[in-house]
Structures are given as C-alpha cells and as structure tokens.
C-alpha cells in the first residue's frame, strides 16, 4: 500500500514538473514571437529602401497637425518609454511610412514624445522633413521646442558624412587625373 502511494506521489510530482517545464518553455517562446514583428518590419524596409546611410529615398510627407492619429492610438496602449523606444526604432529605418509615423508624433500632446519624435526625425535623416520642422517651429508656443525644431531643420540641411566622403573621393580623383594622363 505504502509502495503504491509513493509511486503515485512520484508520478504526480513528475508530471507536475513536466507541466511546469512546458509552461516555462512556452512562455519563453511567446516572448520571442512578440519581439519578432518589429524586426521583421524593419528588415522589409531595409530591403525596400537600400542602400547607404544618407541616400534616404522617401515619398512626400505631410505634417499631421490634428494630434497625430498614430500617436494617439499608441498612447492609449503604450507607456511613454515604449513609445520613445518605438520612435527610435522608426528613426533607424529608411522608408516613407516610418517617416510619416514619426512626423505624426511631432505634434503629440506629451512633450517627451515630441522630443523623441524630433530625435527620430533627425536620425531618419530625410531632407523631406526640413519644411515640416520649420512649420512646426512656427506653430509651437514653447521657445525651447521652437529652437530645437529649427536646429533640427538646420542639421538635416547639412551634407551627410557619406556625401562629404564622396566629394573627397571625387576631388582626389580629379587631382589625380592630370598626373595619370601625363
């Protein structure tokens, strides 16, 4: 009788343990899956928009002034920190849709989100955003945000590092040309 009880106890503990282990594994799997879509999306953008850090090819984008629908819906579900991270990730991409989503947040009601959106616009690096930032500067009442927007527009107007490098190469080649012909 005692043997039977011990055996049943072992059996219960064993299968209970297996169940816990299975749950732990599935929890891990779920987390991995939830991370993936963001990365998948970004890579599709990369493939679509290649190449070079500065040759950003974007369609025309317009400033969304009515509180930015994208930002509004995200705000109801995500914390400010998560939205900031999302904006940073969007800034790393090269596609027009990402820029649109960033720009929608430039007029978010939360100043932290607006700041993150401005940073993301700068990281995105498209000159298409220059008039949008200039327009934003005329609409904000906050003097610091006005200065930041104008600084952002000025930064985007600068030549990129890769453009400078390309010019250096061209200059070097044009200097080298006469000697190589002689």
């Amino acid at each position: 009788m005692k043997k039977l009880v011990t055996s049943k106890l072992f059996f219960a503990v064993g299968f209970g343990g297996l169940l816990v282990a299975t749950l732990l594994f599935s929890a891990n799997k779920k987390l991995v899956i939830t991370e993936q879509p963001q990365l998948v999306e970004s890579q599709q953008d990369v493939v679509a928009a290649k190449p070079g850090p500065s040759q950003v090819n974007t369609a025309r984008v317009e400033l969304v002034t009515s509180n930015g629908q994208g930002g509004k819906s995200a705000a109801s579900t995500n914390s400010v920190d998560e939205q900031i991270i999302e904006l940073t990730e969007l800034g790393a991409r090269n596609d027009a849709e990402s820029l649109k989503r960033i720009i929608a947040r430039l007029s978010d009601s939360d100043p932290q989100i607006r700041e993150a959106a401005l940073d993301a616009t700068i990281q995105f690096g498209s000159r298409d955003a220059i008039p949008i930032l200039e327009e934003l500067a005329t609409k904000t009442d906050d003097p610091r945000e006005r200065i930041d927007s104008l600084d952002g527009a000025k930064f985007l107007a600068l030549p990129t590092f890769s453009e400078i490098r390309a010019q250096r190469r061209t200059n070097l080649n044009s200097k080298a040309l006469p000697t190589s012909q002689n």
Partner: protein, 226 residues
Amino acid sequence: MFIAPRNLTMKTISKLSVCVAVALCATAFEVRAATSERLVTITLTGFDQYVDQTTGDDVARPFRITTKDFLYQITDATGINVDGGVLIAIDSLDNPDALTRIVARTKMREVDVTDFFPISQGESVRTVKYVGNDLRSATFYAIDQFQFSSVTSTPGDTNGIDLILQGFTKETQRVLTTRIGGVPYSVTSSILSSEGNGDLLDYVSTNRFLSPFKGTVKFGAPKFYP
C-alpha cells in the same frame, strides 16, 4: 505506440519523469538570462576643410554624422550588412559586473560590435537616493570618452574612420521591480547622454582627413528581456 520494456516498472517511469522534469526546468531557467537593452543614438556635426577649386580658398563646411553612418562603416569594415539596423547596448541583469555589449541588429542578424566602441569611463560624482538600505535612484556626472574605430590593422588598408568624443555625461538610474517573462526582477533602468567634442580621422583612398566635431551620444530608455 510506446511499449515499455518489461523491466520498466511504474516506479521507474515515475522516477524518470521526475528526472526529465527537473532537467527541463533547469534548461528553461538557464534560457532566462535576463538582459536590458538600450538603443544607442549618435548625432554629430563635423567640420570638413576643403579647397574651393574656383577661388583656391580654404573652406570649412559643416556636415552631419548619425548612427546610420556608423552602421554603414561597420558594414564596410566587416563585410556583414547591418545597414538599416539599430545599435543596441546590452547589459546582463543576472550579472551586473558583466561589461556592456554593443550590437548592431537587423532582422537578419545581430553582430557584436563592442570592439568597435572602446568606452573609457572617467571619475564620476553622483547623487544617490536610498530608502532604508535600498538604492532607489542615482544620477552620475562624468567626463567619459567614446571611441569608434573601423580602420583595420591590415597593412596598406586605410579605409575607415577613427573617432574620439570626449563628453560631459549624465546618467540617470532608477531601481524598479518589473516582471520579465512572468518573473519579478529588481532592475536598474539606466539612461545615459553624453554631449561633447572630438576628432574624426577619416581615411579616404589612403588620404587622411581630420575633422573636429561636436554632438551627442545617447543610450535610451531600457527594454527588458528574459
């Protein structure tokens, strides 16, 4: 259909299942090497000197360098395409003494690029808030040095850039409890921003160009993973 060997009793099966369960649990917990990830953003303005071909004058012109340029340099140096990806600083939550790793991540791959970014941390002063004996928050101020080098040591190969930024760094830390993969963790949430100046040594077709620059390096809000 599974047919148990004749000498496999119920008791043995039970024991085996306990062993398997323990092993699986151990493996599952081992997978949980919790980490904190912070997105790194670099925004710099450099000044390049060139000779105006029409006038013969020396002209200094500003240009911009951002994270995308660094990823492009890494792609160039390693031959592994990380363009369009993000730079991420990864810290271990299980081992606070482990060094911060920097990775370049795209959907396709993740490349450890820590070696490209030697970071030297200077002395810091801090404001620390305790509740009882527990650290709750801290703010550090320091002059830190951030470097990036994609110039290979191969003789004759002088493609790439060397960059040193010495910046005034402010790092804010908050200790909080969060559930990571269903498990409660006490974690330190750290955000760092360094603003300063530096030199950029750029090799183009074996010619060297030096540029001074100013700007910021930011390690953003952390995301926690099991």
